[in-house]
Symmetry: C2
Subunit: 424 residues, 2 copies
């Protein structure tokens, strides 16, 4: 197959006619497939549903002498703090264990910065004339939306193969209005990039003008390899400590994609000074998050090694889905030179760069053929991809059979929109 950009007008016309017929056939199938969000599939839920068999014996209700069923223990069960600390490579006394959603903990961190200020804030962020937040893009739409919803100005930072462009970050933090940055450091959403050691070193060494500049380190995929072995990853808390800025980072993680998306547990980790400050604010808000579910998770996951063994079982389900997508793209799209992508080893997404100017059109065509994907532009601040190129593929939810159909639709739509863009 000749690459589209190299085709003659004649050839493109013929190809367009052929692909259009293909599209109409797919459309006629009346598909209804969803690759919009990083939602685990039913097989993954079933894999872990033996978690419900725990908490049957009275001794299970007690952890380190604490009756997990009653009020109290604001920062979470000590055993749950130890579990997350081992997984993240930090210390238990740096961990606060939350409810079923790390997103809620992230939102609350930003919200408290806005209403009360953080540890080193001269004033609450709502009293600042302007707040800017760095958004490495493409990135996670829900991160960007949190900071957008508080009226912050979102500053796009380009992503490189090694993580956020640190030259751009270092330049940006000279502005005292810049109060923080969103990061998904391991298997970044959506690019699947692992931040390099150099990126992490430079991130921890930042000397921002704002005394309360905060790295929002969403380690959502800290143990989420679906291909190959677990990849060790540096502890950002120690890195910041060593660089002399122990209070500059809040790290987040959850078991949403380890146990159950709707019923897992989450945490944030930070310096003990930050934790003491946040606990004081949170003591007004809640007595503690659900310690019963924390205990259920402690009993179920046990420790890091046991948790990594469980992740291998998830990988058995997830691996084939990612292979299905990437192999289809390699086969169908690579020769046409109209898009590029990576082959990630973990995380929940494949980031595809369609021919500039065609992402929106591609997803419109997909939708008309019954395949829902994350909106084009969603991975950029304000939902606007300046190149109209990035498409986030979330292959986790559909079974492989459905995924094959969905990706066939996507490939066809990529071809159509590229041909339209090139002129037919």
């Amino acid at each position: 197959m000749t690459a589209y950009p190299k085709m003659s007008a004649e050839e493109r016309k013929a190809e367009y006619a052929r692909v259009s017929r293909e599209y109409e056939e797919l459309k006629a199938r009346g598909l209804n497939l969803n690759m919009a969000r990083g939602k685990p599939g039913k097989a993954q839920l079933d894999l872990v549903s033996d978690i419900f068999q725990l908490m049957q014996r009275p001794e299970d209700y007690v952890s380190d002498g604490i009756d997990v069923r009653n009020y109290g223990e604001l920062p979470g069960l000590p055993a749950a703090r130890r579990l997350f600390a081992e997984i993240l490579g930090c210390r238990p006394e740096q961990v606060f264990v939350g409810g079923n959603a790390s997103l809620q903990l992230m939102y609350d961190t930003i919200s408290k910065a806005y209403t009360h200020g953080l540890l080193h804030s001269p004033r609450p962020w709502c009293r600042e004339p302007a707040v800017k937040f760095l958004c490495p893009a493409p990135g996670y739409d829900r991160h960007f939306k949190i900071t957008e919803s508080f009226g912050f100005e979102l500053v796009t930072i380009p992503m490189t193969d090694a993580g956020p462009d640190m030259d751009a970050v270092e330049a940006a933090v000279r502005d005292p209005a810049v109060k923080g940055i969103w990061c998904v450091p391991k298997y970044s959403n959506p690019d699947g990039i692992i931040y390099s050691d150099e990126t992490i070193r430079r991130m921890a060494a930042l000397k921002p003008a704002a005394p309360d500049f905060t790295i929002m380190w969403d380690n959502a995929y800290c143990i989420h390899e679906f291909e190959g072995d677990y990849v060790e990853f540096p502890d950002i808390l120690s890195a910041c400590e060593q660089a002399g800025s122990p209070d500059m980072v809040f790290e987040f993680a959850s078991t949403s994609k380890v146990t159950l998306p709707g019923g897992g547990i989450s945490c944030f980790a930070c310096s003990q000074a930050n934790l003491a400050y946040m606990e004081k604010l949170m003591s007004i808000q809640i007595m503690s998050f659900d310690k019963v579910n924390q205990q259920r998770h402690v009993l179920y996951l046990q420790d890091k090694a046991h948790t990594l063994a469980l992740m291998k079982k998830h990988a058995v389900i997830m691996g084939p889905k990612f292979r299905c997508v990437v192999e289809s793209l390699d086969r169908e799209i690579a020769p046409l030179e109209i898009a590029s992508w990576r082959w990630p080893k973990g995380g929940y997404f494949i980031s595809l760069y369609a021919m500039p100017g065609t992402a929106k059109r591609t997803l419109e065509l997909c939708k008309a053929a019954g395949v829902t994907m994350t909106d084009a532009g969603a991975t950029f601040p304000y939902g606007k991809d300046p190149q109209d190129s990035n498409i986030r593929i979330a292959p986790s939810l559909p079974p492989v059979e459905e995924l094959e159909q969905a990706i066939a639709v996507l490939c066809t739509c990529l071809k159509l929109s590229a041909l339209e863009e090139l002129g037919v």
Copy 2:
């Protein structure tokens, strides 16, 4: 026994010597008892721990076609919304089901008013020159602390036998800076008062100057009778609707004292317009609260009738504790005319009014004898009881044997501090 105020100086001196000896004897026992918070006791936790036996069959994971284990359904499981709606007497589509803490939902409501404004807010409350909040007192310290933490001015409203002094409330809401009021309408914390129909009617009929004035209706003890039958209670949402102000109220409830304090579910209920507005804000914050636990509760509590039957079992545990306290007070303190109290039929507290000027001293003496109670003043805004009189007794945690000892200490300390105040 002669009432203390009627005793001669001589008699008081003799009584003081006698009570002082009694106190020293109690102190020598080295007690360590806690009546500080409305924490259920172990017998109540054990009563409901069969809840952990649920969620064993795959069909339990699905509710109204929704896999409760996965992401989604921001306002909560429809079945959980129906359950709370039946208990509260409102409509399921008015209910948002949250996590393990209604306090968190209350905090978030105030926080969102502050950061984004409520449905009818001209601007976020952080942009108002001043915000005032009405605090019927004695009341719940955690309510007052939420609004205090956002820097609002707390305005004390006296409590009457029928609920908050509505003349005072009606006068206060003429001030456009007054943005809301805290209410515990059934078995108020700590007085155990049930708001009268007239109070509720006047509350719903309020025409505040602030367009976004909000009644924070914490129906914490909506089904929490420990003496006698369930008492029906009007639905505040309909009352406000009928009065032409459907958006003026947020109601809160939870199963913290129905199932497990640390692992229950909570809700807020409000007009559908309010709910749509809040959902839009909350969609930024969380995908949904823990639907697995919501489903566990739906399976466990089933419906209102079944839930009320469970509350009767809690009453069997709670009733004797309250009787123990009130009978001791009736026997030991009533003849002395140095304090007053009610005999509540539900809720978690007994509100005791010691001789003005003696509450702090009484609790100091208690503490020195190993009995921890809620701090004096805690039931008033800023923790300051102008009369230094109100003492909140929380008898739920200790077993009856321990309670008897604790209340003996309290009685002795009440006597000592009254004698000191009267002069010895």
